[in-house]
């Protein structure tokens, strides 16, 4: 989430809504609420009547009403979107304005990092593709999934089915029917499977995990497969500095990391996935399991000492100096790990650490049904029935806390010193 300096960063608490469930129109029900990035608004889908759905923002419903609405999301620049249906046709509504183009189905609303570009997956007459800011791909496909939007929003890609397949035609499938389409144009090369395409830093190249036969896995970059194949691969990632591509690979029963088809981290792990780079490409981290049932984070191939049954939500600061993740045991006893050190508290749930400028780490956690915000291991004294993920101020010195407590929706700007718990 990109915080803007224009937001109100005056430390202190502001009650935005005395009643978070209030709406000036009478409604049958209100659904789960979403908070705007700047914390000034709280929105939720409300059902006003038969086939009458809309968004209610800070107690005021949109003027437009739709037959259906779902997937409310704020863009990073604070625009409220929802996927809506009118006359059986679907589209995306942004701040109450629906795109003119409608489709047989729309889902997967996505945003560029700065929020300026809004894109969504569409299906029109059984053909699939991306729609960016209301404009669909020129060519749609028989099927498309694994949709991905570049960080800057300038490019879209998806795994697409480029050949038709008769029912139960296993030979046809094995000869390859999938490819990757970038901006609606499919690669010439066809594979059995394409998964998890990813853009490079300049949004000009795409790498994807592929399966070329029932047992041969590899990575294709701009349609060209690595010469080497592996027993299995997971999601590839581009080195933002050099453009090299890495992907976790399985070789002789163990997982390691390959770069451009050659082994980078010796396959010695029970698991290795979610590779992440620092901006300078010098630090590569991934979630790994050095032993069976014991997970941690490996940085440039070296695992942290602290190991837990489950590790998820790996995040890294752009400079690579701060790497955080969360761990759990049987989906409880959640802990936050930062650079290999484990914070003291354990929680019933953690919602993924957030790394801020300057290497501070914040996280929303839940204990006994109450949610709280942690900064560098210490909790903000107030807890919420429902909170939203913390957002750092541009200088990293303050944390924006958003949450509903006692029915009130509050917006709190907290300085580091305020986290005492």
């Amino acid at each position: 989430m990109q915080a803007a300096s224009t937001w109100d960063w005056t430390p202190g608490k502001k009650t935005i809504l005395e009643d978070a469930t209030a709406c000036s129109s009478e409604y049958e029900w209100m659904q789960e609420s979403v908070a705007s990035p700047d914390g000034e608004s709280l929105a939720a889908i409300v059902k006003l009547g038969d086939e009458e759905f809309t968004m209610c923002v800070n107690g005021e419903p949109w003027e437009n009403v739709f037959e259906k609405a779902w997937n409310p999301k704020y863009s990073p620049d604070g625009r409220l979107t929802a996927i809506v249906m009118t006359d059986m046709a679907w589209t995306v509504a942004i701040e109450a304005e629906a795109w003119e183009e409608t489709y047989d189905f729309v889902w997967n609303t996505s945003f560029s990092e700065n929020g300026e570009i809004v894109a969504a997956s569409i299906q029109s007459e059984g053909r699939y593709g991306w729609n960016v800011d209301g404009t669909p791909w020129d060519e749609l496909f028989e099927n498309a999934n694994n949709f991905v939007l570049s960080k800057d929003g300038s490019a879209t890609a998806a795994a697409v089915q480029v050949k038709s397949l008769a029912q139960a035609d296993i030979a046809g499938f094995q000869s390859g029917i999938f490819s990757v389409a970038v901006g609606g144009v499919a690669w010439d090369s066809i594979f059995m499977n394409c998964w998890t395409p990813a853009f490079d830093a300049t949004a000009s190249k795409v790498a994807t995990a592929i399966r070329t036969s029932l047992y041969d896995y590899s990575v294709a970059v701009d349609g060209k497969a690595w010469p080497a194949s592996f027993a299995c691969v997971w999601e590839p990632a581009f080195n933002p500095a050099t453009g090299e591509v890495v992907a976790p690979v399985r070789h002789q029963g163990a997982w390691g990391m390959a770069q451009d088809g050659k082994i980078l981290w010796k396959p010695a792990f029970f698991q290795c996935w979610r590779p992440a780079f620092s901006d300078d490409g010098k630090i590569l981290a991934a979630i790994v399991a050095p032993e069976y049932g014991k997970f941690t984070v490996a940085v440039n191939g070296r695992p942290w000492e602290a190991m837990f049954p489950v590790v998820t939500d790996l995040v890294m600061s752009p400079d690579g100096a701060t790497i955080a993740a969360q761990s759990s045991e049987d989906n409880v006893n959640f802990r936050i790990m930062v650079n290999g050190k484990v914070w003291n508290g354990t929680y019933d749930m953690a919602f993924g650490p957030v790394v801020g400028p300057g290497g501070n780490v914040a996280c929303r956690v839940e204990k006994a049904g109450k949610q709280a915000i942690l900064l560098n291991g210490k909790a903000y004294p107030e807890s919420f029935d429902q909170a939203f993920d913390p957002i750092f101020s541009p200088d990293g010195g303050k944390v924006l806390i958003r949450g509903v407590a006692g029915g009130k929706y509050q917006r709190i700007v907290a300085e580091a010193g305020a986290f005492k718990g």
């Binding site: 094995q174 499977n193 399991a289």
Partner: protein, 439 residues
């Protein structure tokens, strides 16, 4: 006495598969699987089996045919022993036989483990045979197609991303006629549980989604379903021997739950899906236990009924019998809870014998029913013993909390004129519960 060679069945997948094989490829592949993926378990199982034949009576195929080549040990003899004795020097035709035995004549139900004094896991040995067949590209056409679907769409039935969501909206609409404020909450972060189903539910058995949604709404539960891939908990790749795709599906399923920050995963009434999620996928992925607790519908309904969140208005009439699905009974020990649930919702149980962990398999599981029409007759005739078991109860209703079991039992009920109706727990609960809107 016959052997597998005497009952060869033509299948497009198997024929095309063996047509591609050469002796060199077979030997190389077998050696790679045995050396690379098998260890002390397979070695001790093969070596210490004393060939006593006690396991014969465990297998419904054997009990139905009384033919030694259907006994668990007979199946091992016709496949794995031969493979090991000949060090992989076997013919393509032999691989066809291996595939037919392992995919279509063994349900991996594990009943034979209650018969082997040495604790030899025949289901595991058959899984290794399947793994070899998969690695050789010799798999029955229809189950391979579902494995392809899994790989391409992360669900078993080629359901596209939007079709899933659309189906949920449709069922939500349908159910709102009955319960106007009913919701199927999509992507609700932090819900108490994520409900996952198998792809045949949105494809063919949408009423099950309807019923589940109705029950959860009536009970006032905090639940969700993912709008993105990971919603399907079934896993046919596990049964073709494609461990890599098996694991990819399970990763997607667990990560869906993790992404939604739910406390638990509640699974619909499916057995093999439960096995994949509870016992298999997590291991291949390196998680010793499942990263998010996994609860089968049997147990979940038990919780709802015992906590009073749902109440039964009137019990389902007439005594019923209970079928124990292998993957939730032998695989998870839910036999007591299953009976408690059935007793709470039905007018008593007439037990089949044997029952509980010792119950005969439905003969559909383990991917056998998914191998499709070519093998259907063998599968049905091979479970005469189950039909007799059903008949002997004398009741008109059988509760079977598993999709595959429904498929398998339905077939034998028709073939052998058992005259019995099959019910999911959800069917009966939905039918018999106190309905808030009805008042």
């Amino acid at each position: 006495m016959s052997t597998i060679a005497d009952r060869r069945i033509e299948d497009a997948g198997l024929e095309a598969g063996i047509a591609r094989l050469t002796p060199e490829k077979i030997k190389k592949t077998i050696e790679a699987v045995l050396a690379g993926e098998c260890g002390a378990r397979l070695k001790t199982y093969i070596e210490t089996c004393v060939r006593c034949g006690m396991c014969a009576k465990a297998c419904h195929y054997y009990m139905s045919h009384k033919d030694p080549s259907y006994a668990p040990v007979g199946k091992v003899k016709q496949t794995m022993w031969e493979i090991i004795n000949k060090k992989g020097d076997v013919t393509p035709e032999f691989i066809h036989q291996c595939a037919q035995v392992a995919y279509t004549e063994c349900n991996l139900c594990r009943r034979c483990m209650h018969y082997c004094p040495l604790g030899i896991d025949t289901a595991y040995i058959m899984s290794v045979v399947r793994r070899i067949c998969h690695k050789l590209g010799v798999t029955p056409q229809y189950i391979q197609d579902t494995a392809h679907s899994h790989s391409a769409t992360m669900n078993q039935m080629w359901v596209k991303d939007d079709e899933w969501i659309d189906t949920l909206f449709w069922q939500e609409d349908e159910a709102r006629d009955e319960m106007p404020n009913l919701r199927i909450p999509l992507d609700k972060e932090g819900a108490d549980f994520m409900y996952s189903v198998i792809a045949p539910e949105p494809k063919f058995r949408t009423q099950l989604i309807y019923q589940a949604a109705y029950i959860f709404n009536a009970a006032g539960l905090n639940w969700t379903m993912p709008s993105f891939p990971g919603w399907d908990n079934s896993n046919m790749a596990m049964f073709t021997g494609d461990s890599e795709i098996m694991a990819r599906i399970e990763r997607q399923h667990f990560e869906a739950a993790q992404r939604l920050r739910v406390k638990r995963i509640v699974m619909g009434e499916c057995g093999h899906a439960f096995r994949a999620v509870y016992d298999m996928g997590n291991r291949w992925l390196g998680w010793k236990w499942h990263p998010v607790p996994v609860v089968h519908s049997i147990e979940f309904f038990w919780e709802l009924l015992t906590s009073g969140k749902i109440k039964i208005a009137q019990k389902y009439p007439g005594p019923v019998t209970v079928h124990d699905p292998c993957n939730t009974i032998r695989g998870r020990g839910l036999m007591d809870k299953l009976r408690e649930v059935v007793n709470m919702i039905c007018d008593g149980i007439v037990e089949m014998h044997p029952n509980r962990e010792h119950n005969y398999c439905c003969c559909a599981g383990g991917g056998v029913i998914n191998c499709g029409p070519p093998f259907k007759n063998v599968r049905i005739v091979g479970n005469k013993i189950k039909a007799e078991q059903l008949k002997a109860t004398g009741v008109k209703t059988c509760v079977a909390p598993c999709h595959n079991c429904h498929g398998g039992l339905d077939d034998i009920i028709h073939k052998f004129d058992v005259g019995m109706e099959l019910k999911f727990l959800g069917d009966i609960i939905y039918q018999c519960m106190e309905k808030p809107e009805a008042e």
